[in-house]
Structure formats: C-alpha cells, structure tokens
Subunit: 379 residues, 4 copies
C-alpha cells in the first residue's frame, strides 16, 4: 500500500468476471485502493456493489461522465480509472476520463476500430496521461524474461514463430457458452469479429511483446465453423515480419480440450524458446546443442528486469491474477511517479495504447485479407 | 469485502516473506482488512511498516500482549489475528490472543511440542474461538477435490500412499540458504528438527487431508547429510495407517532440481490419484481401465465443495497465494458467522488445531523412532 | 519366420542408414529372410556387404536390372524387393522389378513426379503386384488406433487439423547436415523441393491416414530461410478438405530443439485427438467433458485392428523400427497370401502407391501455389 | 550378421512371451542366428516351433541335457544358449550348458537362491565361459549414459537415491493377471517371493548399474496387500550404501495406472539425474543452477560408450527390444571375441552372473529383514 494510490472503476458490477479480476489483481499487491465506482446505470445496484466493496456511497456513480467530472474536481479524486465495461463502450468511457485528466487502464480492445483508438492515444499523449491496455498474458514474469532473452540475442535472429490460442468452450453448436459466449458470438455486440478479436489479438500482442517483431504483411483465413455461428471461430494467419522472419498464428474457440492455450514458439538462428501461458511459471530455452533447459520463475537465470515482479520463491506458483497484478505494479509505479514528478518514459513496463492500436490494426488487416479471398495485406 | 472483517498481524515486518504472503492471500479476495499490527519490537519499525500498510499509528504495537489487550477492549477491535513470527514464539503469542478472546490464524507449527499445542487447542475450545493453522497446500481446489474423490469411494479402498516433498535449496554445504535457511538449520532456533518439521509435516498434513487416513505407527530414518549440518535434511518414513494401508513419506532439502515438490500418489483398490502441488491446477485420476484422466480446476468434473473456491475459469491459472486465500476464505466465513451467530462446526473447511496437533505428534514419533534406531513407534 | 518369405534389396550398402533400418524392421519379426541384393554398383562392395549379411555370393548383384531378371527366373527367386536407393533412381528400379513380376516395397517418394508415379501404380495394378511405399510413421499402433477412432465417429466430424513436422538438424548455415543433409539441400539431387518432400510429405500422409480426409485445395508458402540454402526449409500450408474441414501444415528443418517432431492434432465436433510420433506409444483422446485421457499401446481401449500389431505389453516401449516392422508385417502377410492364393484387397494395411501418388500431387500443388504467390490451388 | 554366430534356445515355445522377445532382440541387429532349440518337452511341439522358426528338425530337442551334449559335440554347434524357461528350472539348465562348455544367456533370476547362483558363477569362471543375465532395462542407451555421468563425477557424490517400479496389472483381487500372473502369485512356482523378485530386483540392478553403489544394509517391509494373495505385492525398502548414501526402493503390483514404471532418481552433491524407463529415450540432468536439461539418445551430449549402441537418430524412437538387443550386442561381441581369441574382460558391457548374484542376495536380505520385523540386515 506504500504507493498510497486510489482508483475508481467503471463496470465490474455483481457477477462481472473481469471487473472482479482487476480488483483482485490490484488488491493482491495493494497497488491502489478502490474508492469510487460506476458499477451500474441503476443507482441501487451501483450503490449496493460499492457498499459491498466498502466504498463511500457518495462515490458510487451511475453515470461515467458524471464520475469523471466529479472525481477530477475532488481534492482526493481518484488517481486512475479502470474501465471494464462491454467492448463497444470502451472508446467513449476512456475518452471521458482522459478529457477529465485522469489516467486510464482499460481492457482490450480500447475501441472498436483503429481510427478511434488512435484518437484516444493522441488524446492521452496531449494530456500527458498514462493509458494502459490490459493484455494480461504478457504480464507473466516468464513473458518478460523471454522478451529479455530475445533482445539479448540469446537465440540469435528470429527465423520463424508459431503462435496459437485455441480454446474449446464454444465447441457446442447447441450451447453458445452462456452469457460470456453470447455477446462474443453476437454481431450486434461484437461487430465483424469474434474469435480473432477476443483471443487472436492476444496472439498478436504476445508475439509482438516477446519478440519485438513488427508485422509487415499478413494473409488471413477467418472461418465460421460451428453450425449456427455468425462470426469467425477459427482463424489461420500467415505472417511476414519486417526483416524477413515469418509466422503462423492460429486462434480457435472449438478446440475441445483446450482451456486457454496461448502458446508461442520462437525459432532463432541460435536457439529456440517455448512458452505456454497455462504453464506460465516456466520457459523452455534450447541452444545449439538441442538440449531443452526448463527455467522457472524464481531461478537465478531469470533476468532481473523480469524477476523483480515475482512475489514467491520458485515452486510456490503464481498465476493469472499475479500476471495482471504485474501490469498494475508497473502502471501504478508510473502513476505514483507522475504524482511526485519523477516519471520517465523508460519506467513504462506495461502495454500501452500503442499495443492497443497495433492489435486493432492487426484485426482490420486480417478482415481485409479474408474479405479479399486470403491475399496478402500490408500493415 | 462484503464480510467487513478486520484483522491484526503479529510479525510480518519489512522483508518478512511469510507475513507478506498472508497479507496478499487475505487481500486478493478482500476477506478482511488489516487494521492493526505488531510488526516489530522496535517502535519506529513497527510504525513505519504500519504506515506503509496504511494503518492508524495508534494500532501499530511493539508488544503483542499489549496489542491483544488493547484490541480486545476496543469496540472496533480486530476480528482475528494472524501470527507469522518465528516458530519458537507461536505458542506464547497464540495463547495471549486466545486468552484475550480473539480468533487466531497461525503459521505452522502452532507450538514447539505437542503438549503445548494441545494446551492451545483446549484453550481455544474452552473460549469458543476459531484457531487455524495455515497448511497452505491443502487449500488448493484440487486438494479439496481429491479429498472428495477419496471420500466418495471413487478409487475404492486406499491401499498405499507415496508422498514426498523434496526441495533443493539447501544442497550446498558452503551456503546454508541465507536468512531463510539459517534459522532452519540452527538447533538454537529450530530445536531438534529441521527438514521434517519444515516440510515433512506438510507431507503428513497433505496425506491426512487428502485421504482421511490416520497413522497407526511409523518407522523413521532422519539423516543429516550435507556436510556441516546439525539437523536432519533427509527424512525417510514408513507408515502404517489404521485399517492396514501403508505409505512412504520422503522429505529432503538437498534434492537439486526440486523447488517445492510436494507430491502425493494414492493407490486404491479401484483407482489411483496423483497430485503435485507444483502443478496444483490439475489432478490425475486413473480408473480400472488404467487410463489417466487429467482433470483441471474449473472443469465440470470437480466437486462443488471444491470448485466453489475457484476464482477463474480453467486455464487462467491460480497458485499458491490463491491456495492460502482459500484457507482464509473459509476461516473468515466462520469468523463472520461467529459474529452474527450463524456459525456451525460443519462450516469449517480449513486446517484447525487438530491438524496442528497431529503434525507435532507425527514429528515427535519420528524423532522417537529415529532415536531408537529406526523402529516402529505407535501414534 | 513362419511366412517363409525371402526378399532382395537394392541399395543399403555399408553405412546406408535407411537400408539397414529396413533390414532391422523385417528381421525383428522374421517377416522375411534377405537372400539377394544389389548393394553397390562396384562388384567387390556389393559382394562384401552381401557376405556380411550372410548371402550367397551368386545373389549379390551390381546391376538392378540384372538382379530383377535373374531373380525372376530362379525357382527360389525373391518374393519381393526392397528399394532403398537415392530418390531420383526409385522410378527406374521399381519399374524394373514390377516388369519382372516381383512385388515391391520402396521408400518414399516412389518417383520424382506424379506422372511417373501414376505410371508405376498402373503397372503394378496391371501385373497384379503389391507395391508398398514405406511411410513409417503411420505404421505405429497408435496411428492405426487413431484412424479407427476417427472412422468410428468417436470425435464426431473433424473440423480442423493442426499438423506439423519440425526438425532442427539443418539450422546451421555453416553446416549442411553432413552426408544426409547434403543431398537433401542440393537441387541437383533433390529437384525443386527439399523440406516439403522430405518431411512435409509425411505430414500429408499422416493426416490423410489418421483422418481419412481428402485435400480439396491448398495455399502454400515455401521459404528458403537459412542463409546459403537453395531449397525450401520452412513450409507453411493452409489446407481445405473435401467436406469443409480445414488444416494447417508446417514443416521446418531449422527448428532447434526439434528432433523429429511429427505431430497431429485433430479437432472434431465431439472430441479431440492428439498424437506425437516422438511419444508414439500414446494417444490423447479428449471428449466433450474436456478431460484428456491418455491411452497407451497395449491398453484395453485400443482397437483390435490396431492392437494386433503390438509385440509387448504396455510400458515395454516399441519404437520406430517396430513401426516400420508393422508395415512389413501387413505387406508380407499380403505377399504370402498372393503366393498361396488367399489374398484379398481388404488385407492391405500398409501405404500403397495410392498414398505415394497423393504425396507427390500434394508437393506439386504446393509448388504451384508458392510459385504463383501463395494462392489457392485445387488438387 | 557379420559376427556369424549361432545360438540355441531352451524354452520359448509358442505363446511364450519372453522367448519371443529374446529372439526379436537378437534378430533386430542380426547378432546371431537361431539354429537349435529345446522349445518343449513334447517332440511334436518342439519340432513344430523349430520348423516355424526355420530350424533343421535334427536340432529341435525335447531334452535340454541332450541338446547341451549334442550341440557341444557338433563341429557347427551353437555358440551360445539362451535360457528362457520358468525360473525354477534356470539353475539346472544353465548348469548343463556351462558343463558342456557353452556360453549362456539366461533370464533373471539365475537360480532360486544365492548359493546355487554362486555355484553357477564359479562354474562359468572355471570353464572360462560367458554368462549373461538379461536385466533388460540397463541395456538402454540412456542407462549407460547415466552410468557414465555418475562415474565422471558430473553430479558429485551421490547422496540419496529414490527408485521405484510400480505396476498395476495385478490390482484386481478377482483376477490374478492370467497365465503371466498365475505363476508369479503361486508359492509353488515362485517360492517365497513374488513382486520383489519379479520387479524389485530390477530396481536393485538399475540402481547398482547406474550409480555403482554397493548396498551395505537394508530394512525391508514386504506386504501382501491384494485380498487373496499369498506372496508380497508391495515392497518398501530403506537402503544404506557403502560410503553413507541412502535410498528408498519401492516395488508394487497393484498401482493402477502404472504399466512398467521403473524410475530412478539420483541426487548428488552437485546435481541430479532422473530416469524413467518408460521414457527411455531421455535423461534429465540438473546441475547446481537447478535447471533441468533433457538429453535424448542421439544427442551430442551422450557419452560415446553409451551412444555406440544407438541405431537411429534422435526422435526415431528405440524401445525395449532395442535395449535387450544392446545386451546381446555386447554379449555376442564377447562370444565372437572368445572364438577368435581377442576377448578381454574390459569388453564386457552387459549384466553378468555377478549382477545375478547381487540380485539374489538382495532378495534374501529383504526376506530376512521382513521376517524379523523390519530390522536392518547387513549384506
């Protein structure tokens, strides 16, 4: 709690999975204290949720614009806001808080298209505000370690990348995955994209973060496979990066037996790195002798820039909440530094609006490629 | 935060690993709010730590007896205390808070011998107080699921158990594992036992919890292996349970490559269960067809009594902090129920003083067996 | 040895890996006895190798045409020939033996192009001769079991397939993999294709065998990645099957840490099957409950049509030689049945010229797609 | 076939698993050619089996003494005999062939007690004959590699060993494992020991071979667990080696889900080695950094003395038959060297009568310890 920061939340009412997850991720390290919220448009619901969370009823809002304005005027106003509402509302809400001069952490996607996202990014920059997009998986210590390994040249030049994110929960044509599945599969709520936006974008972000590679062009095939679905549930993408490396990305929602299998394999001229977020405590690193070495969070081999996020000794497992906590650890460090005037850009160790923008451009390029019959599209 | 409970902590000053871990485990679910503490005997240190944690300076104590007394008299006094001091002090501190009428959660061991532990247990019972000992590993959802599987007869009658807890961090004769290792290897601080008390007792608790078996007699060999050590660092124990099943327990601190490898294998007349706390998200269940089935936290197969502790969907990993959080989840449910008069014994789903007492009796029996030349000792 | 068959070999001189492998695969089960060979064009070398193998010097030839003619005229002539020479010579040699009325087993590819392969296939049919192409990997008991699982509808309708075959041995730009690598990377000996023909064709065969799916069209990207190479060493292929299922095939020769990682994942409407030839003793089968079940060769669950090839109880591992032995087991059953007049087509349980032809057509379609800029090509 | 050796077999009639396995293991490398056999006491059966195996009817015997005498007198008599009869007959048969001056390979145990085994050992030495006992598992390339690693000091001084061999096939009280189980569980055929002799002795041999450690004393608990059984099916043994290292051995026949899980873990002062014969193609080697490195047969890291037995590149799996083949590879090298006068003791790289004798002494010591109530017994 030593950073003494406070935050507010928009969204995250009772039963909302992702809002609760953000609260846990912030609470586990005491990165900030929740003091305000707009949990629902219904006054009773918002107040009830706020009370359950120990908030002052005066700071339980029903309108995010009102909240942004009120909090920006309080001497003890929130230091940042967490936006965990349905995707289609992200743009307007982020905009309101940025305009009110409040730092923002928002779930992906930051907007429904790249133009709006670029607008938000510019707004944050103009206002000198911090703007995080919570790509949780790259918060893992092991993800940060891999980033350092690749940067340091440990595996030489990256030659090819195999990345995938299969899930199985939407395999059943008779059951569209309950509440969580319903909005994802509904064009009215998800626009033109389901699987690729939901999980394919994590593949893009993971590869970009771990390898530092920039996509030059891609060729995408987005299929609607499960009978009755209207949006993509299986995406196959060939990628070429600047510099000549290549990749294959695969995301799928009907792969029975896959829970949340974000997996990245990076093949370089001098070595290979394997990473599987479901086994997020370990990295497999293979050198020219072909011998896999399994390095776990907490080992001496892990780079200090990654290791600093670990809480527990190796073998005392950390997981998904801790990964998101790591994002908030760096984000709140930056917020605190903004407050006391010690902030520098180099402190940023979380995904920013740049990552959010890249993700949206990636999705748009895939749609274009698919629409044109699976042809190459430049980014 | 809906339970609206508050707690105090004894121990857990700056740099104290286990105190911080307990705070995180309570914070992640908002099970209670830290409002008081005796973090150090030095006033400045205790206040500084309290301030960093956002506490009222008036409730930062330097003497645990004073704290117990003061808090018991406040109208808004703590609902429970968390004791995370060096082992040799547990007995006196727990006693002080129990006598003051305050529920207690204490790290293992509850005392340095079973007689004192029994005394504490009796005291808690007489006072009608809750008394938890934080055997973290059995807090995992998968541990609770296994308990339910065995109870339900899924694997028939248990025939034999293989349980082990090797670690490697104390392998080096030139380095006794820093501050954490120093006190463990020092007879002045640890008494007659190192490895067996530190991790062997987790083996005992895990098997007891998962299988429900009671040890009838045991034969122990406790060796001091690494040159220069004075206390056991390798423990091999043959066990016979009431009813005739048998087991082997092994704990070790010099097993290079083992981080925290608590592992239990349960062989029954109709099936087998495998559990590895380092892969705490999964259970391997094998039936008479010999086919391993890997069931993960979050799957439909997990029993409701275990599944209720899960926070995230399968594939979004939970870990050690969440396991301890699960203990506090049940413990604070019980504390809250005590407050509003709805408590019943059947609500208890965490390790109590009974488990703490069994652990100490186990260690004492092992010492006796070893002293007598590895002979059978009845429990 | 009860089939009492004899065979001859063309190729397989001293130091020739694949010839020795075929001999071992035939010997392990005593499927046939080697009695003739054309091991080298140099008389001394062929005789020396024949003598080392215990052959009559009269049946050690230096010219395969002479061998085909001589053996076809002997009353005790060979029952079949095994062709294990460099790829470019397969067509002529197979043709010579087929014309001489001798059954043929030949390493893949049967010819350098599909037209010549089709010609051989027709010739064998006209002559009523058996013609096996030794795709070793689909000889594993587990491969045959998967084929049966898919056919029986165990996983419903196949929706998508992920198949890959990465190797790492040609990663080094300074070392082209010795003698084995040299001819593969040399356009003069390998024609227009390296990686795709060498291992990508095994991916095609494995998926076709395991799933029964027919490729309708494909889109291929064949890259030359390691500096200094002239032929493809990384192949990425999008596949559409008749009936609408899709797949991704990847083959690579510079994937450090991969030895021989032929792996197929089959996602159906009711379940998933995972297979990895490096762990060829097991199949992972996942049903709608999402729970992986690991079924090993030798278990009761394995279908009789697959299990019959097993030699040892589960846990007594069988490997690559045994997989090839399984091909020869069925092939020699058929040869013996041809001799005694009991042969029927339904006895064939090994890859025939049909599979060889499909493989060559697959490679040719990939080349066409790649030449045209990664466009869809119908098969 | 270049060694040009011939052998005869006693036992191994139709349906006999182990006889067939030996024949395959010899045939796969052409280490020797089967030319004589005493497959049954019934003349028709022995001849029929001999004929199926392509033998001269004159060399199909029905009496092993007659065979030993006849073969020893033939100018082209067998170079060695393979004894694969029921255990209780090993002693007499081995003795007959040794007396006839014929080298012997015999399945374990060489005799039913250590005195008789010592007698055979002495006889072989006096006659200058080779005498192999086929402990198959230590024939794996990886086992030989581990032996070299330990000898070279790679993991420092061995401190403790965890070794086990659980199987599950005899778990069912209603089914004693068919023909294979029936004799093992029958005191009339197996004497006083079942599980320990059958698989526990492999544990002893594996540890002795891999580590070179000699047992100084042991404490054994041998339980009869499955209802209705008369002989041990669960064996727990504490071991102390000369030099002070310790170990735990466990063997079990009712561990559902275990096929043939011989597993050895060796913990040294500088590193750890893990080996699992069901994954016999790999060794896990861990150094002081705690990082597991997985080294597979065929890798550059494997020592030449182990690697020389490999037949195929890494990733082309070898298994149990190949492991036994490795024993015969060295044994027949020695037989051939005996014939041409080039033999030296240092050529022996297979388990000899010494290993057989150690195994029997180990079993006898366990029985004594168990009979006396689980006390320490010196070896």
């Amino acid at each position: 709690m030593s950073k003494k920061l406070t935050y507010g939340m928009v969204g995250g009412g009772p039963g909302a999975f992702i809002g609760d997850a953000h609260r846990k991720a912030i609470a586990v390290d005491g990165s900030a204290r929740l003091v305000a919220g707009c949990f629902s448009r219904t006054p009773e619901k918002s107040k009830a949720q706020g009370e359950a969370l120990g908030l002052d009823p005066d700071r339980c809002y029903t309108n995010y614009r009102e909240m942004a304005e009120a909090e920006s005027k309080r001497p003890d106003g929130i230091d940042f806001v967490v936006v965990v509402t349905p995707n289609v509302t992200h743009y307007e809400i982020c905009r309101a808080f940025l305009e009110a001069g409040i730092h923002v952490s928002c779930d992906k996607p930051l907007a429904t298209d790249s133009a709006r996202c670029a607008e938000l990014k510019q707004l944050a920059e103009e206002k000198g505000l911090l703007f995080m997009v919570t790509y949780t998986y790259t918060g893992h210590v092991t993800a940060k370690y891999i980033r350092d390994l690749v940067r340091s040249g440990e595996i030489g030049t990256v030659r090819t990348v195999m990345a995938e994110y299969p899930q199985g929960w939407l395999y059943n044509e008779k059951d569209c995955g309950g509440k969580q599945g319903a909005w994802r599969c509904d064009p009215a709520q998800s626009g033109r994209v389901n699987c690729l936006g939901d999980i394919g974008s994590h593949v893009e972000n993971a590869v970009a973060t771990l390898t530092g590679l920039k996509i030059k062009r891609l060729l995408a095939k987005m299929d609607v496979v499960v009978p009755g679905r209207k949006l993509d549930d299986n995406d196959q993408i060939l990628v070429e990066y600047e510099g000549g490396a290549t990749g294959i990305y695969w995301s799928c929602q009907f792969a029975i037996g896959c829970d949340n299998s974000l997996r990245v394999r990076i093949y370089g001229s001098k070595g290979t790195i394997l990473w599987d977020q479901e086994h997020c405590e370990e990295v497999t690193l293979i050198g020219e002798d072909g011998v896999p070495r399994i390095i776990r969070r907490g080992y001496g081999a892990v780079t200090p820039a990654a290791a600093r996020y670990g809480r527990l000794p190796a073998g005392h497992t950390e997981g998904w909440i801790e990964a998101m906590g790591n994002l908030y650890d760096s984000f709140t460090d930056c917020v605190a530094a903004k407050k006391d005037g010690t902030f520098t850009e180099s402190m940023i160790d979380y995904p920013t609006a740049d990552a959010g923008l890249e993700g949206l451009r990636f999705v748009e390029a895939c749609l274009e490629s698919n629409d044109k019959g699976n042809v190459w599209v430049n980014l």
